[in-house]
């Protein structure tokens, strides 16, 4: 079987002006399965995707996609890669049917049944003008255009942004449909954690232009743990704990989120002499927010302004 990763980057870096948007990114995306790229706004996800597709030149470093160097993607590479941008923009003056006709002339593997199927799934009239479509309908059309050539690798840049729940669900269904063939890979960036929970096999997390995590989804979930410590009085100050993400202090309680919870971390926490210490289960969304939020002690927003009696 083909063991080559479909996407590989080595030290991929891009500066805008004097600031790096992506810094020394090195990751590998294996063939087959769904890979989610996560990160806050402005952490470099779109920049990374544009570089992978040869639409933006890396400042330094490089990578390969389907074995082709990203700095010089030939037409046959582009035939095998589907790309869905986050804006879902198309030529407003074209009709839905004409979009399909137009694209079909370029891709030799065009499957019109798929195109018509997705268009029908989103209830698009073939004679409707693109500029009269809603955002969700446009997303459906773009999805149809991207899926119809049956690409080996599907790259989606924040595809669910601005979509209503029905359109989002249809999008997730299409991703699952693609997994029918084990040689197809999906690489997408998103903020929609419920969707990530549903479809992603692996995730990578970009934190301010740097890659901080790249692992199977379950590994990430298992890595981030939340521990609840109860104290009779005010909880003491928190010592330096390796892998500490965030800590919330409230009356008599300290909630600590950390990574790689092991014996040393447990010992450090027990050293605070809590009355009770137990591990609390944490959802993926909360784990993610802790992981990418500011480090250290956190309080609820604007709680200081209400504190004075």
């Amino acid at each position: 079987m083909n063991e080559q990763p479909v996407i590989r980057t080595q030290g991929l870096t891009r500066y805008f002006g004097a600031q790096p948007a992506v810094y020394e990114l090195s990751l590998e995306v294996p063939r087959g399965g769904v890979f989610a790229l996560l990160g806050r706004n402005g952490s470099g996800k779109t920049t990374t995707i544009r570089m992978l597709l040869g639409l933006l030149e890396p400042t330094r470093g490089g990578g390969s996609i389907l074995g082709y160097d990203i700095r010089s993607l030939p037409p046959e590479a582009r035939a095998r890669i589907g790309y869905l941008t986050e804006e879902h923009q198309l030529y407003g003056w074209m009709r839905v049917r004409e979009c399909g006709d137009f694209q079909s002339r370029f891709f030799p593997t065009w499957n019109d049944k798929i195109f018509r199927g997705v268009v029908g799934h989103f209830n698009l009239r073939p004679s409707a003008h693109v500029k009269s479509l809603s955002r969700g309908e446009r997303a459906g059309l773009c999805l149809a255009l991207t899926l119809a050539p049956e690409p080996e690798l599907l790259i989606l840049d924040d595809p669910a942004v601005g979509l209503d729940p029905v359109a989002r669900r249809a999008l997730v269904e299409s991703m699952i449909y693609l997994t029918r063939r084990s040689d197809r890979t999906i690489f997408f960036s998103t903020h929609q954690l419920p969707d990530v929970e549903r479809v992603a096999d692996h995730i990578a997390v970009l934190d301010r232009s740097v890659l901080r995590a790249c692992c199977p989804l379950e590994t990430f979930r298992n890595s981030v743990r939340q521990v609840r410590l109860r104290f009779p009085g005010t909880p003491p100050a928190l010592p330096k704990i390796p892998g500490l993400l965030q800590a919330f202090r409230s009356e008599g309680e300290l909630r600590v989120t950390c990574v790689h919870y092991n014996g040393a971390t447990e010992a450090a926490l027990r050293g605070l002499a809590p009355a009770q210490m137990e591990e609390a289960p944490i959802s993926l969304e909360d784990a993610f927010i802790s992981y990418l939020g500011d480090r250290g002690e956190k309080s609820f927003i604007l709680s200081e302004t209400e504190a004075q009696p």
């Binding site: 699952i176 997994t179 549903r198 096999d201 379950e218 979930r221 959802s283 993926l284």
Partner: protein
Amino acid sequence: MNLNIVINTGSATPIYKQITDQVRLAVATGKLAVGDQLSSVRALAEELVVNPNTVARAYTDLAREGLIESRAGRGVFVTRKRKMFTREEGRRRLEPLMDGLIGEAMVMDFTQEELRAAFEKKLSQCQRNFGKGGNSINE
């Protein structure tokens, strides 16, 4: 399959665990009998709109527990439970479930007798699902 599995995203429980818990509960309550067929991995994945790998992992875990088995070319079926855990392990797994049940009942102001009666009733309903020999709760 007549089992209605529901999953929630954003829960503290991973999706695969929600599936295994629900299948286990269905087998325990009798909704699924030994020999009943479960949906294939692909079909369940598309019904729940989740990654098939997640469903596959759930099924793998259930198979490892001895609750289901996959028959080549025919599908996935509920199987006779085989002894997979040690007694100690089994008791340890049972403990939190009993805590939950008794805690809920106390909150709802059931008395001990009422709870015991309900428990006995349930046991007799599920009688047929419990294994003969080696797995009897009466040891």
